[in-house]
């Protein structure tokens, strides 16, 4: 029996709503919601509203962004192995962040955290280079060039990251390695608010894309023959997925696995229609990352595990189980 689509969305919503009530410390919910106690004296309220809720929102947004970017890029590149990190966006973002960490730059802005800003600038640089290389190919983007340029840029940025880490002192090296493992502890709403406009633009484009992506997966010529403006669709898909990835990396660092396992897991359950795959990937991506982050903050509490380690360690075997189960069926 097919699982109704709404069940996925409801389950994901329930996970995100309940997640703030789980944590490494026990809080008194009565006093957390007792608004007669001044906020500056209410530790329970501060833990709930400053530490946990922003963290769950960040996890949901980053998870949804990475999962949907994975879906869009796999359709755009017509490659099931494509991930949000294939086109070098994540490596560009990571390089930007690590340069700021190692060189110790700081921008005194109350609206955008310095590392997040640097990460987003790094992502934009990577996107611009890849797009510049792939754009002059008749009336469409060359997916081969996109893919190859992205993979090359990924390697180039990764090598530069290693060089910067190698030249940095121990503390900075360790600090930057830790940043690369992902972290959703945003300590407030500033990182979320600063990335939200970018994510909203990307999600709005994702709402418009599914039909065009369905046709695009048949090949650019077939899509063109069916009246799809291939170049415009490719551009929208490329820039929106890159925007979502850049914003997600700026919030939580390069958290791997979500962009590849969630789209494929969703396709195994609901088929390949992007009108269904995209929204369910958003919900499941959000729920999956929020669950992984609960693990990150509670398994070894009070020591925190990097969320990227959890997504890979638990996500990988879980995905293999789905794969085997699907083949048996």
């Amino acid at each position: 029996m097919k699982t109704p689509r709404v069940v996925f969305h409801l389950a994901a919503f329930a996970i995100c709503v309940l997640a703030p009530f789980v944590g490494s410390t026990s809080i008194n919910l009565y006093s957390a919601f007792n608004f007669e106690i001044p906020f500056s004296d209410n530790i329970d309220a501060q833990i709930l509203f400053i530490a946990r809720i922003p963290r769950v929102i960040a996890g949901a947004l980053v998870g949804a962004a990475l999962a949907t970017s994975g879906v869009v890029l796999q359709a755009l590149l017509r490659n099931p192995l494509a991930t949000p990190f294939t086109l070098g966006v994540s490596a560009g973002g990571s390089l930007g962040a690590i340069l700021v960490i190692v060189l110790g730059f700081s921008v005194s802005s109350p609206f955008v955290p310095t590392v997040a800003l640097a990460s987003f600038i790094g992502s934009l640089t990577a996107v611009s280079i890849v797009y510049y290389l792939a754009r002059f190919r008749g009336n469409r983007l060359s997916t081969n060039v996109l893919l190859l340029a992205g993979v090359t840029l990924n390697s180039l940025f990764s090598a530069t990251i290693m060089f910067v880490q190698y030249m940095a002192d121990y503390t900075q090296s360790f600090y930057s390695i830790r940043w690369l493992m992902g972290n959703l502890d945003v300590s407030g709403y500033t990182p979320i608010i600063s990335a939200l406009p970018l994510l909203l633009v990307a999600f709005a484009v994702f709402c418009y894309l599914p039909r065009a992506l369905n046709v695009l997966t048949l090949g650019a010529d077939s899509a063109s023959a069916r009246g799809v403006n291939v170049l415009a669709t490719q551009r929208l898909a490329f820039f929106s997925a890159s925007l979502a990835t850049g914003a997600a990396v700026a919030i939580g660092g390069p958290i791997g696995f979500i962009g590849i396992i969630i789209p494929h897991a969703v396709r195994m359950f609901v088929g390949a229609d992007h009108r269904v795959v995209l929204p369910i990937s958003a919900s499941l991506g959000a729920a999956f990352l929020v669950i992984c982050d609960i693990g990150a903050r509670t398994i070894l509490s009070p020591v925190e595990l990097p969320v990227g380690v959890i997504t890979a360690m638990f996500g990988g075997p879980f995905f293999l189980w789905i794969l085997v189960r699907n083949q048996q069926n």
Partner: protein, 294 residues
């Protein structure tokens, strides 16, 4: 009268002179053999110890992170992650100070028959011990003993000054993201920074965590509610940066340290170096925690 000593007497004199010479050599020479004349140190803490015990002229190469004036003009030979073994060889050292886990470099130097001193990062009482061991290795036992006793005396004095005083819950931070309370690195319950907090009369909020460094989440920081927050920064931090950075703590307004404005920043490149300056650092921290005792 015959003024010349008899051959048997001469033999006795020669034996006595020989014995005196031998005795004086054994008191100068280190236990390991010859006194090293060309020392290369990859470990900043040991470089500082060498300078403190008067072995500065014997140093011929230092790590990339040694920035004290005395060694500024010396060749840099890399550090823990990137030691330049070729450069080390080119300096013809007779003693190379390495970290204990630099196994590959140790093997290469051993093959070239160059002596090594393997440094192990330890606790606060290990620092004077390391000073004495190094002194023994380079024939500066007396000077090393003086420095080690100096550190021990200062720490003991500090401990006496803070004994009996209230022990405020203190968070010792040595790294975080600029302008936000993300990716905070703090002292855990092991290592010389934790020991410094104890000597300075504080209770480390992460004393239960059996690690030198811990990365607490914002939830954990709120839950442990430190009464004092001390941040250790490098000299590169400017006053503007420090002020805008400190404002970031205001997000956690329920923390007693934020309410009472007991958030302090210490700047200096040797704050996290377990070297001869450690007692001075401990004193600076104690003065912040217990201003009434000084």
């Amino acid at each position: 009268m015959d003024t010349c000593p008899k051959p048997t007497k001469l033999k006795h004199y020669l034996i006595i002179i020989g014995a005196v010479c031998l005795l004086s050599v054994t008191t100068v020479l280190p236990a390991s053999g010859e006194i090293p004349r060309r020392i290369v140190s990859v470990v900043p803490a040991v470089t500082q110890i060498l300078l403190a015990i008067g072995a500065g002229p014997q140093i011929t190469g230092v790590s990339s992170f040694d920035d004290s004036q005395e060694v500024a003009s010396l060749p840099k030979v890399g550090a823990l992650l990137n030691p330049d073994i070729e450069k080390i060889f080119s300096l013809s050292p007779d003693l190379v100070v390495l970290y204990k886990n630099q196994i590959e470099e140790h093997t290469q130097l051993k093959r070239a028959r160059i002596k090594t001193f393997l440094y192990h990062h330890g606790t606060l009482p290990d620092i004077p011990k390391t000073v004495r061991t190094i002194g023994k290795h380079i024939g500066k036992e007396f000077e090393a003993e003086q420095v080690a006793v100096g550190i021990e005396t200062e720490l003991r004095k500090l401990k006496e000054q803070t004994t009996g005083l209230a022990k405020p819950k203190t968070l010792l931070v040595f790294g975080r993201e600029p302008n936000s309370i993300r990716n905070v690195y703090a002292s855990g319950g092991v290592g010389f920074l934790h020991d410094i907090l104890e000597v300075a009369g504080a209770t480390n909020v992460f004393a239960d965590i059996p690690r030198e460094a811990t990365r607490p989440s914002s939830e954990t920081i709120l839950a442990v509610a430190p009464e004092i927050i001390i941040e250790l920064r490098s000299k590169h931090a400017t006053e503007n940066n420090i002020n805008s950075d400190n404002n970031a703590w205001k997000t956690f307004s329920s923390l007693p340290a934020v309410k009472s404005e007991k958030i302090y920043v210490l700047t200096g490149n040797d704050l996290v170096v377990p070297g001869p300056n450690v007692a001075h650092v401990a004193k600076q921290i104690a003065e912040l925690i217990h201003p009434e005792a000084f």
